[in-house]
Amino acid sequence: MTDLVMEARNVYKAYHSKIKKKEADSCGETPKQVVEAVKNVSLQIRKGDIKLIFGPSGSGKSTFLRCMAMLDIPDKGEIYLGAECLTKPGADLNKARARIGFVFQHIYLFRHLTALGNVELALRQVLKLPKEEARKRALAALTEVKVTDCINKYPAQMSGGQAQRVGIARAIARNPDIILLDEPTSALDPELTGEVIDTLRDLAKEGTTMLIVSHEMPFAREVAEEMIFYDEGKIVETGPPSLFFNAPNTDRAKQFMTRIINRTTRE
């Protein structure tokens, strides 16, 4: 049990979207709408695990992932990083986030910094590495994701695939305990997803602990130890890829897999 990297215990998160009265009247909804994105979800991740969360869009997968990194603060439940409880008052969230790599769907590179600057910044500011050392580690991370050709380019000058790989380099450069990836390929053109998937495959080979929200099914089949089907704020079914690709137990998972596999083969 000591190899537990992260754990979520009964995590609950709801959004209160305030609808303007005028709009509310016209569409007949109550002025305050509660969206329950995460409903008492529990999950354990051990060292070296690669788990993949998938499910319909809008079901709360991203919110759950953001709760894991405490980028969204859960309303209820606990998040553990190793033995440390992040949801208890007074927890040092900055220190915790330094040990968690996060890759965003829409990449979110620092726009005023080059690829190198993007990776270096946290090494300098968070790990307090001296300049030379930070540069060396940033270059190593950028080499690992194979973007050495654009180390001096700014985010707006890169392709989506290059930018997302820089995003991954930024997440891995600190040698985090775990990397959380929120649909890392879904904002990219289909021909660019391949290069990002290759990078993730390399990370998987090295035994990186990862929790990935993704719908890249061939990739999931290849690297995920466990797939988690998430719908309406809950984990509906979990199991190895073979389970989902052959015969999921729940009807909802079955329907979803059928749709997604049809879509993939059509492409």
């Binding site: 005023h112 910044l121 700014y154 600190r174």
Partner: protein
């Protein structure tokens, strides 16, 4: 007509007046930038009380004439408190406080276009909110705000004409003094106006150059002020 320009005494007055105008504007805009940035951060992250106080501050300084603010600061407040404070210092302070009222809005607008995703990204790397503000948000916001800042500089420069009313010798005071002796009313104001024009145009051009050089490559930042 323009013979007064050859008189060394008048030349001295013009230089003296111009120096005060330039000094007060530059220091005022700078103090306004620092204070305006702090106010913008306070308005974004502060509690209800802080937000309310900032709103009152901004409305007072934007909503009342600079001349009245200057008059109160130079004559009324020291009289009430029964203290002697250097008038130049008070004028500099009023210009800074006044400019902060405007610059808070520019900075807040600039920061809000950046904050959403860039703050998330900063926090995700383990940086604190303050570190992210310092290393990610402000470097981008300051670049965006340069054109608004240039406008603020132009408007503040011309507002220094109010300094004459509280007995400080700015460029307009120099003009009035020369006009009072030479009676060359139109030529004097043409010269004074031209000096403003040259100084403001020159400085704006420099700011435009800085803006172009500091612009984040690949991104067109469009901010209307």
């Amino acid at each position: 007509m323009f013979e007064f320009l050859l008189n060394p005494i008048y030349q001295g007055w013009i230089v003296q007046g111009l120096l005060l105008t330039v000094e007060i504007t530059l220091f005022g805009v700078l103090l306004g930038l620092i204070l305006g940035t702090l106010l913008a951060i306070g308005d974004i992250y502060g509690g209800k009380l802080a937000k309310g106080a900032i709103a009152v501050y901004v409305e007072i300084f934007r909503g009342s004439p600079l001349f009245v603010q200057l008059f109160l600061a130079v004559y009324t407040v020291p009289a009430i408190l029964n203290v002697q404070i250097d008038h130049y210092f008070l004028a500099f302070l009023v210009f800074g406080l006044n400019s902060a009222g405007y610059q808070k809005g520019y900075m807040k607008g600039a920061m809000e276009t950046i904050l959403g995703d860039q703050m998330q990204a900063g926090l995700s790397t383990g940086m604190s909110k303050v570190q992210t503000l310092r290393h990610v948000i402000l470097p981008q916001a300051l670049r965006i705000v340069i054109p608004s800042w240039t406008n603020e500089f132009c408007s503040l420069t011309k507002s220094t004409a109010t300094l004459a009313y509280v007995g400080l010798f700015d460029l307009v005071s120099a003009g009035m003094a020369i006009k009072g002796i030479t009676y060359q009313i139109l030529p004097v104001w043409i010269v004074i106006g031209a000096i403003y024009l040259v100084w403001i145009t020159g400085f704006s051009k420099i700011m435009d150059m800085i803006y172009e050089r500091k612009k984040i490559p690949g991104i067109e930042l469009v901010m209307q002020s």
